[in-house]
């Protein structure tokens, strides 16, 4: 960890000791001086022999101080050398060179043996033989100069060996985001050029890089935790899950320190559950196919027989079956997304084309629930790079919410426009709206506001997966809302042209896109534009 507060070091002792002794010497000499002056005064030297009075006092002062300091230096030199040796073996950062036992003066005084004993003790204590390949990551410790009896072990090496024993990963980075230290358990990649990089797959836009960028701008000290971050894609060998704790300390030599706790075994259960959810949701699709299909067939075949109110019942059945189908898609896509399996196939399409695939369904849903749905999407909007099936799910979720959270007879407006490189789709309702405190959590998984939990049914994954899908397109989703007045959801999607330009800039590979940092088009390699 970066040292943030002043800490006591052994090397700090000598300057302190030196100061105290010097002060004591000066004070004691002053007292002697004053006493001498008093005695001389009593014997009338001051009035009878002023010259002698001054000479005696001056000689007393100078000789006293010089002799005291000389004696002090002589007596304290071994202590100083001892301290220097101890500082060196403690591995503290210091600019002084350790005392060399082979120095002539140590040889003469016999202090050589003392120094050698200290160094020997230090090397015996520290490490089992052989693990002393000390390479301090940040060069903070001054390496001992090549001298005979000076040991190479330092506590740094010991700590490094210990860090390699744990199953926790530790990664230290400097200001340039270069990895300066990583232990054995840390998930890192070393490429052909020998450059070390982290291999962690963060979720959506909440990446470490994004956070660090934010820290660079806004923070001095910061800490943040991510959970369940895998190091590899699903189905890759030795995939592990980590909880990642990052601390940031601006300007420090180890500006970023990551602690990675391996939670693979804990989350493995969760993985199985996700598999189970995906399996169960797939199973549900069978009966839904039959229900939706037969309703379709029956409504057609009975259209002349049914009375108006019976038609209405049929429509309600259809709407409910369609919604059920939508929820199952939400569950499936959430499970895919959480397992990093969500694959989008971005292609050239338009908001109108996407909306057309759900238009009938949405009209039916709105009219069956007595809402006025008006859709106004201009025909001349630029094309977007989108996955129609996923985007229609997003639009469906947002309109479904607008219906849910508005009142009987309320109006819902769907509109679209161009904003620079983006096409914006807005879904506006005039329903119950929500307070600002709710908005911050709105896109979290399973989040449901206190009130909506009481009054409106739902799973709390619709907005979560919608956000995931939109961000995987390189777009954004946001909301404006006023309590009692209604909400407006805004989906911004990049135009096809802007995505194509980025693709070209990336030498026609997806690398360029992946490096944009939003993690989009991450695990699929078929951009069909």
């Amino acid at each position: 960890m970066a040292v943030t507060e002043p800490q006591k070091f052994a090397k700090d002792f000598w300057p302190y000791f030196n100061k105290v002794v010097t002060t004591v010497i000066v004070f004691s000499q002053l007292i002697i001086l004053v006493t001498t002056a008093a005695i001389l005064f009593m014997f009338n030297f001051l009035s009878t022999n002023l010259l002698a009075f001054i000479c005696i006092l001056a000689a007393q002062l100078v000789l006293g101080i010089v002799s005291s300091i000389f004696l002090y230096k002589l007596a304290a030199q071994p202590l100083k050398d001892l301290l220097a040796a101890i500082i060196h073996i403690s591995g503290e950062p210091t600019a002084t060179t350790p005392p060399n036992p082979n120095d002539e003066r140590f040889d003469k005084s016999g202090f050589k043996d003392v120094l050698q004993t200290i160094y020997e003790l230090a090397s015996k204590d520290n490490t089992p033989a052989g693990v002393i390949s000390s390479t301090p990551a940040n060069g903070a410790v001054v390496a001992p100069t090549a001298q005979v009896a000076i040991p190479t072990t330092s506590p740094t090496a010991m700590i490094e060996a210990a860090l390699n024993e744990t199953s926790c990963g530790f990664v230290v980075m400097n200001h340039d985001r270069k990895i300066t230290f990583s232990n054995k358990a840390a998930p890192i990649n070393i490429d052909a050029q020998g450059v070390t990089s982290l291999s962690l797959m963060f979720n959506g836009q909440e990446t470490l890089d994004a956070w660090l960028e934010d820290c660079d701008k806004n923070a001095v000290h910061a800490e943040r935790t991510w959970s369940r971050i895998p190091n590899k894609l699903p189905e890759e060998e030795d995939r592990r899950f980590f909880d990642v704790i990052a601390s940031y300390d601006k300007g420090a030599e180890s500006e970023i320190v990551l602690t990675l706790i391996d939670r693979t075994s804990l989350y493995a259960v969760g993985e199985q559950e996700l598999d189970f959810i995906a399996f169960a949701a797939h199973e549900l699709r069978g009966p839904i196919t039959v229900i939706r299909g037969y309703l379709d067939v029956l409504e057609d075949e009975l259209k002349d027989v049914l009375k108006d109110d019976q038609h209405e019942l049929f429509r309600r059945l259809t709407v409910s079956a369609n919604r059920l189908s939508g929820y199952i898609n939400n569950i499936l896509n959430t499970s895919r997304y959480d397992r990093r399996h969500l694959n989008l196939r971005l292609g050239e399409t338009t908001v109108t084309e996407v909306y057309d695939t759900i238009r009938d369904d949405m009209d039916l849903r709105a009219s069956a629930q007595n809402r006025l749905l008006t859709v106004n999407i201009p025909a001349d909007l630029p094309k977007i790079a989108g996955d129609p099936a996923s985007l229609s799910e997003v639009f469906g979720n947002l309109i479904d919410n607008a219906i849910k959270y508005s009142n009987e007879g309320g109006s819902i407006n769907v509109g679209a426009s161009t904003k620079g490189d983006l096409v914006e789709l807005t879904i506006e309702d005039h329903g119950i709206g929500m307070p600002a405190s709710v908005i911050g959590n709105l896109f979290q998984k399973f989040y449901r506001s206190h009130r909506s939990r009481e009054t409106v049914a739902g799973t709390g994954i619709g907005l979560y997966i919608s956000k995931a899908i939109v961000e995987s397109h390189g777009g954004t989703i946001s909301v404006r809302s006023e309590e009692g007045r209604g909400s407006t959801f805004i989906v911004s999607l990049p135009t096809f042209q802007s995505v194509a330009d980025k693709l070209k800039a990336g030498d026609n590979s997806n690398k360029g896109l992946i490096d944009q940092g939003s993690g989009w088009i991450k695990n699929h390699s078929m951009y069909r534009g």
């Binding site: 797939h282 699709r285 069978g286 309703l295 067939v297 057609d300 189908s325």
Partner: protein
């Protein structure tokens, strides 16, 4: 070439009957096979205009049937269109393989019979 004859390979009786019923009503000639082996034999023996192919099938999966028909050097059904109909979405690789050899990949739960008919009509158009 208008689509006239259709082979349905689908093991779920409810779903199979549903397609047969509405497609017949729409004027198509329908054969329906319940398991993968029979489906493959039928597809080889008679030149259909369109095959509706389920993936999870007894005896022989839809992927294998498609591979047997179109995976080799020679396309055994050059004049037939193939629509994959499934509820169990595949992982990317097998889905890619199927899409390469098929004319469409549809999720059954999302396709009502009337939508299916409009998809078939669309298939007819460009040809």
């Amino acid at each position: 070439m208008a689509i006239k004859t259709i082979l349905i390979i689908e093991d779920d009786r409810f779903i199979g009957e549903m397609y047969v019923r509405s497609l017949k009503k729409a004027g198509y000639e329908i054969d329906w096979m319940v398991d993968g082996n029979d489906g493959l034999i039928a597809a080889r023996n008679k030149p259909y205009d369109l095959i509706l192919l389920d993936v999870m099938l007894p005896e022989r999966r839809g992927t294998e049937i498609l591979e047997a028909l179109r995976g080799g050097a020679e396309d055994l059904i050059p004049n037939t269109k193939v629509l994959i109909l499934t509820n169990f979405e595949q992982d990317d690789e097998s889905r890619l393989a199927m899409e390469k050899n098929a004319d469409g990949y549809l999720i059954k739960a999302e396709i009502t019979p009337s939508k299916l008919i409009s998809v078939i009509t669309q298939l007819d158009k460009p040809a």
